[in-house]
Symmetry: C4
Subunit: 270 residues, 4 copies
Amino acid sequence: MNSNWSRKEIYKVLEVTRGKKSTASLVFNAILLTTISLNTFAIILHSVKSLRHDFVSFFSDFEYFSVIFFTIEYIVRLWVCVENEKYRHPLWGRIRYMFSAGALIDLLAIMPFYLSNFTSDTGLIRILRLFRIFRLFKFSRYVHALKVIESVFKEKREELILSFVFFIFTLLISSATMYYIENQAQPNIFSSIPATIWWGVTTITSVGYGDAYPITPLGKLLGGIVAVAGVAMFALPTGIFVSGFNEHIKSSKQDKKDFKFCPHCGEPLS
Amino acid sequence: MNSNWSRKEIYKVLEVTRGKKSTASLVFNAILLTTISLNTFAIILHSVKSLRHDFVSFFSDFEYFSVIFFTIEYIVRLWVCVENEKYRHPLWGRIRYMFSAGALIDLLAIMPFYLSNFTSDTGLIRILRLFRIFRLFKFSRYVHALKVIESVFKEKREELILSFVFFIFTLLISSATMYYIENQAQPNIFSSIPATIWWGVTTITSVGYGDAYPITPLGKLLGGIVAVAGVAMFALPTGIFVSGFNEHIKSSKQDKKDFKFCPHCGEPLS
Amino acid sequence: MNSNWSRKEIYKVLEVTRGKKSTASLVFNAILLTTISLNTFAIILHSVKSLRHDFVSFFSDFEYFSVIFFTIEYIVRLWVCVENEKYRHPLWGRIRYMFSAGALIDLLAIMPFYLSNFTSDTGLIRILRLFRIFRLFKFSRYVHALKVIESVFKEKREELILSFVFFIFTLLISSATMYYIENQAQPNIFSSIPATIWWGVTTITSVGYGDAYPITPLGKLLGGIVAVAGVAMFALPTGIFVSGFNEHIKSSKQDKKDFKFCPHCGEPLS
Amino acid sequence: MNSNWSRKEIYKVLEVTRGKKSTASLVFNAILLTTISLNTFAIILHSVKSLRHDFVSFFSDFEYFSVIFFTIEYIVRLWVCVENEKYRHPLWGRIRYMFSAGALIDLLAIMPFYLSNFTSDTGLIRILRLFRIFRLFKFSRYVHALKVIESVFKEKREELILSFVFFIFTLLISSATMYYIENQAQPNIFSSIPATIWWGVTTITSVGYGDAYPITPLGKLLGGIVAVAGVAMFALPTGIFVSGFNEHIKSSKQDKKDFKFCPHCGEPLS
């Protein structure tokens, strides 16, 4: 490596920083984003039988190119990660980096390809092919704004878990009761409590496919109550999210107020 | 009972207190939670025909174990409840405890088993088996956080009842009208107002199974209006919950402000 | 009329006042509420063929009793309404009272019965029977709390109309486009724009009966976009209701603050 | 043009101003609104086969009248637009006006008619006929209140895009996984990832037509999780809209406070 392309400079090119971006960084990230997007499209289109058969070599070539590209990216990131304060140690820093969320996603994006060469089990190969969809998660590096939602989720963790528990309770109680009511009238559809839970989920979430619904008067009464209870299942998390967003906005405004800057030099005042 | 296992100590082991928990309390509550969870799974899995037939003795043994465990728990709780200020009197305190929500749930969890021995009516036994699902409610002892939702429900009781009345009104008026519109076109599905109410509920809650829907132009017009009105049925309780949550947060913050503690000893300052 | 049962006293018995209620008033209103409730049940149950045939005379007798009761109530209310400040004039006051919402509902509750005696057209009689459901609206006299929702509706009238206009726009544009896309693939279901509007309503409100859905790729693309747009149709009115409720609560708190009372005599201080 | 009907006066008649409207302006805008409304009805009714055949000449005449009316309107607006400060230049001003949203909508409302005379391709004529529905957008000139919603959309752009990205992520990941799970059990319905995305959209938005739903236990498990995740897809944008509306209301109140007027002359005080 010559002096122009030192490890630090490559690190700056790869990393998405908030400050001014160099042309090299913009170009690299544009190429990476395009490759991830094209991979997403390739995975989706590859599942269409007619396209899969007509463009066999195209899909194969693109897969090879993507894996090579992502592998090089992974190796280079592993090499330069020590420039980050958090992973400063040449060995332990790199190992800790390998277990960071970003690095694991990068690994999951290429591993299935390599693993599929060690097996001839078509079932396993199918599952490995499914894992390619995790390449989508490589986008997450670019979604800074996700942090607002993440922080609302964290702040309101307790209430959200609670409303989930509330949902599970309602689901289990209503499904078990519905099973005892409808089982004799529709032994094939309401064949067991797990089967009735499927009805329960589609009703509480108001999806209502129409593959399972009560036909007895008592079953319809319970079904109606569950459908109405489903409205509360929408209202509760919405209420929690709203109050979370409001608190977030207020506290971020407070932060801005409390944190003053010198009007002359722009430096923060303590 | 020896001095180590006095009534007071057993009470402390059973009761979920907010302060520091003893090891015995943690162990007992872990066992209780596990037993309730396993019971839930057993009830759900027992409804699956193939599992029920293959593991007859297992389900039977587990049921005996659970009932014995829950019965001992009930008796011990009844014995130690007098340690609680509220149920201090040896007789009347215990009777009042028996009618508390927690004790009634504990009783409902074991009663069906004993009652089913006094009857050979399969229909009644089926219903008694259904009541086992109430063992789930034994979880409620552990859901402290439920109190926030409970208090929002209480505070906004009037508005929630009102929006429920609003829902019932819309449901009855629209179902009765739809019955008169669609009855002649679909005499089997819209056979009576109660039958049409089933359509009304699935439409207002936006479940829409597809087993009942209008086919006449006038019926479709009314159906469309009802479907749109259903959006308001979601928006109203959500609005009520949101303002309830907001008020709750504000008042709890106010409480914290008004209620100050000494920074040195941590004692509340009046 | 003797002096004990003067017009003023009857007025006080009939009218639902906020202050202390007399026993006579409580009894009368309990009877009225029961009669309205029983009427609602009678209308619903009468639509069930088997019940209608088995209890012919019962339903007929109850209908006669109800109409007589409601007719007497209407006449007495008309007689005593002049005790109200608003309808003080013996003639014009009573005429104005007749056109008030409450009096019109009371009239609509009994008119169908009398009108059905003047006709032998079964179609018209069917419609007149339908109008009996408006007896439900007699309940509205008792729903004071409806005023909060009413005031939120009024305050946010503009925004709610706007989001309704937004809904109609989305509905018409998407239905017209869907008609041109799907008409050739499903000429019976997407037979015209009005027929496609039915699909549009069930999709935007997320009811989704399953009687009409696109099958062409382009139709499914548009259908998906419309389904997602439907989420906004839920979010917008909810947002409007929430901010309406919040403002209402704030302003009612402000009113309480601004409006002070003397701590000694309880009289308002200006 | 005589002095009474100068360009400036015609401009004032055409333009919807906030101040006092002249009678001529009210009359013209009433006629325009009526014509747009009638056009909307004509487009909708023309799609009904029986009406289209029975009233051939009526629909044709109304179409000619509408196009002539809208064409004159377009030309006159183009002539007078220079009275507006923004489009003052006789040539460049008019060209810039032609590319304003309002003028483009006006052009799209008449262009299809003229273009359809240059082609005999029935497919193209069908599409051009579809474009007539854009006449509906001519209404937008009158919807001032749309600006509140528009400003909320703008303010919360980032969060709304984010929750849309969140939706796309959930949709793609769940659809791809569901494809691998259900493909073998239902090869015709879950035939490819794009086909499964249709299932995903109808489930996440809780429409649930019932044309595609999982039947394998694993598929039903994933389907249930996706249906529950769909609730969050409703709760997130609602939360965003609510906080947007609240901020809007607060800031508009602040504006009113900061901006004072003289109580005597009504002039703003600085």
